[in-house]
């Protein structure tokens, strides 16, 4: 009996991270493949025969996807597991990004002529403390989490669509704040340098040797992202399969019934918002540290929608789905650019003009339509498609 795969006989195996040894094996394979892809050309596996190097460009997109996955997991906790639709994820991403930039960034001063004294004085344009990554990554998460804590009472008072509206308003208010706090954000159209990713003196944004292996800065960031994502995903998975996760699911499915069963709504909605904001803050900090420059106007509704799309396309209330969704959405622009080189997509132009739509416009249309199509045809997202494929092959060649 115990040897039968797919048979769940007790709660412990129901809540296990891996259902079977097969899953464990494939997860290990996935990790090995990821690490090998990350190392790429740095270590020769079969010299002259196999070249697994992703190339700098693809690797950089992969790094972005790894960090975005963290944020997508965060949104999935509040929207997928706890059922509280939040359109305000961009705000928390922004808070994290700017907190990190202030703590880990460089101060910019400017010589200003003081009319009263007739002398030049130093005026601070953008504040920055150049602290270590060990400080600014958690701090970005904590500040965002604190703001999430402030928002959560609203979530307790409001339900459903009204909550979606308030979080939508949050994005607009946040956008205004980011534009106006110029000493923190650098101001509209100018922006500022982001935090420097240096851990105890080890720079992730510079090429160099690690343990005798030469790693480019993309590779270093890739491994940083991979390690952080595995940690954050494990934490989220453990949260989801524990008492808290079950309580959140109960709140999502029927909040009044959950309350009657003795689940304090206020506390669990608060937990969901705080954890989700923490993830968003960490993502904001790291994602923009990779890019290097930060604009106050980039945290708009569109960014929130992008994260909603990651959750929906990937799979609501699944951790692996969040990661798949993030990779899909981050690689989409690249995919669209590749499509535009094919002949029957000739209506997409490569440049800014010509053709019917430009690549970036087409990408947004695809994006909108993907959300629509996934909602209509596969509400479980990529995760659902994967489950269907898996179930099909399980019984192949029989249909059931």
């Amino acid at each position: 009996m115990r040897q039968r795969p797919g048979l769940i006989a007790d709660y412990q195996s129901d809540a296990a991270i891996f259902r079977s040894n097969v899953q464990r094996f494939w997860f290990a394979v996935l990790m090995v493949v990821t690490v090998v892809l990350g190392l790429g050309g740095s270590i020769p596996i079969l010299p002259g025969l196999v070249n697994l190097s992703l190339g700098r460009e693809l690797l950089l997109i992969a790094v972005t996807a790894l960090f975005a996955s963290i944020g997508s997991i965060g949104l999935n906790i509040v929207t997928g597991y706890a059922g509280q639709v939040s359109l305000g994820h961009a705000f928390f991403l922004g808070v994290g990004a700017f907190t990190a930039a202030v703590l880990g960034g460089v101060e910019v001063t400017r010589q200003v002529f003081d009319l009263d004294t007739g002398q030049f004085v130093e005026k601070i344009e953008v504040i920055g403390y150049q602290l270590d990554m060990l400080i600014w990554v958690p701090a970005a998460g904590l500040v965002a989490a604190l703001l999430g804590l402030l928002v959560s009472p609203v979530a307790f008072r409001l339900r459903g669509l009204y909550l979606a509206f308030v979080t939508l308003g949050l994005v607009f208010v946040g956008d205004h704040l980011f534009r106006e706090l110029t000493t923190v954000t650098g101001g509209v159209g100018i922006g500022r340098q982001t935090a420097v990713p240096s851990l105890l003196g080890f720079r992730f944004d510079e090429d160099g040797e690690v343990f005798g292996i030469f790693l480019s800065k993309e590779q270093r960031l890739f491994f940083l992202g991979l390690v952080l994502l595995v940690i954050m995903a494990l934490v989220a998975k453990n949260l989801a399969r524990s008492r808290i996760g079950r309580a959140l699911a109960a709140v999502r499915d029927r909040d009044i019934a959950a309350e009657l069963m003795g689940i304090p709504l206020a506390r669990y909605k608060m937990i969901a918002f705080v954890v989700s904001s923490f993830y968003a803050g960490v993502t904001g900090a790291l994602l923009y540290a990779v890019i290097g420059r930060l604009q106050p106007e980039s945290f708009n509704l569109l960014l929130s929608i992008e994260y909603i799309a990651m959750v929906l396309i990937g799979g609501v209330a699944t951790i692996s789905g969040s990661i798949m969704g993030a990779f899909f959405v981050v690689f989409l622009p690249r995919l669209v650019r590749w499509l535009s080189t094919l002949w029957f997509f000739g209506f997409i132009s490569d440049g800014a003009t010509g053709g019917f739509v430009t690549a970036s416009q087409f990408e947004q249309i695809v994006f909108g339509l993907l959300i629509v199509l996934f909602l209509i045809f596969e509400p479980l997202g990529l995760y659902g498609i994967w489950i269907r494929i898996r179930n099909y092959w399980k019984a192949w060649p029989f249909s059931y």
């Binding site: 509206f165 956008d175 909602l375």
Partner: protein, 297 residues
Amino acid sequence: MTQFLQAVVNGFALAAIYALIALGFVIIYKSMQVLNFAQPALLLIGAYWVVYFVDIWRWSFWVAVLMGAGLAALTGVMLERVFLRPMVGKPVFAVAIMTIGLNTAINIVALDLLGIDLRPFDNPWGLSVLSLGDIRIAHSQIAAVIAAVVLVAALLVFFKYSRMGLAMRATAFDQEVVLAQGVSVPMVFAVSWAIASVLAMVGGVFLGVGIGLDGSVTVTALKALPVVVIGGLDSISGALVGALMVAMFEMFAATYQPQYAEFLGKNFSQVVPYVVMFIVLLVRPYGLFGTEEVERI
């Protein structure tokens, strides 16, 4: 005093436009419990047709508006049939998020058709202004208020006295019972989307008559969301009150905030609707006139 009256005048004109857009939201919400985030896109594409007919085909403004209304209604009905109908019975959020996706897609197409520049178009009012003492009232503002009043009155009469209006009110009440009485619920859905699209289009035209139409009207259209929320999602009178409230607060903020509360920053008036929404929702979670949800377990 002049400043105050000027703010009131501008507030009324803005309220008229908000009311038009907000009514569309409410009508769709009442008929099929769908929160239509695609309203800004409908506004943009509707107004674009008018610009297209006036500017490119050189039609008279009124003919263009009629034709635009037809096309806008068609767009609305088609959207509902193709994308929203399969979602009947799905969770409210899923549908709401889907309309966000639709909004993104349609917006891009509309913006691509419209171009980056402001698109001025011939209209009966142009930039002419009526001066009462120091207060300046644009003719287009008066027209917007009149149009809003006429359209709202017409809609209220339609809902109260026509068969279709009765069917729509009944559908808002209970879809299944209405089906059993022989009302075509799909028809009701189609009509509500058509009405909402036309209202949005008229709002868009009035947003564009001054200096011209461009993509920024969607930002204004989105501010109709706080309007609806403040009024209560399912209340027509709420939408009107909300429109007036939001527009007035916004205009007062635009007038006085730079003088008295400069620390709040430039363009603070743009976020005022959202701030008002926060406050109203904290006091009344279902808006001012919204029906409180009664839930069974």
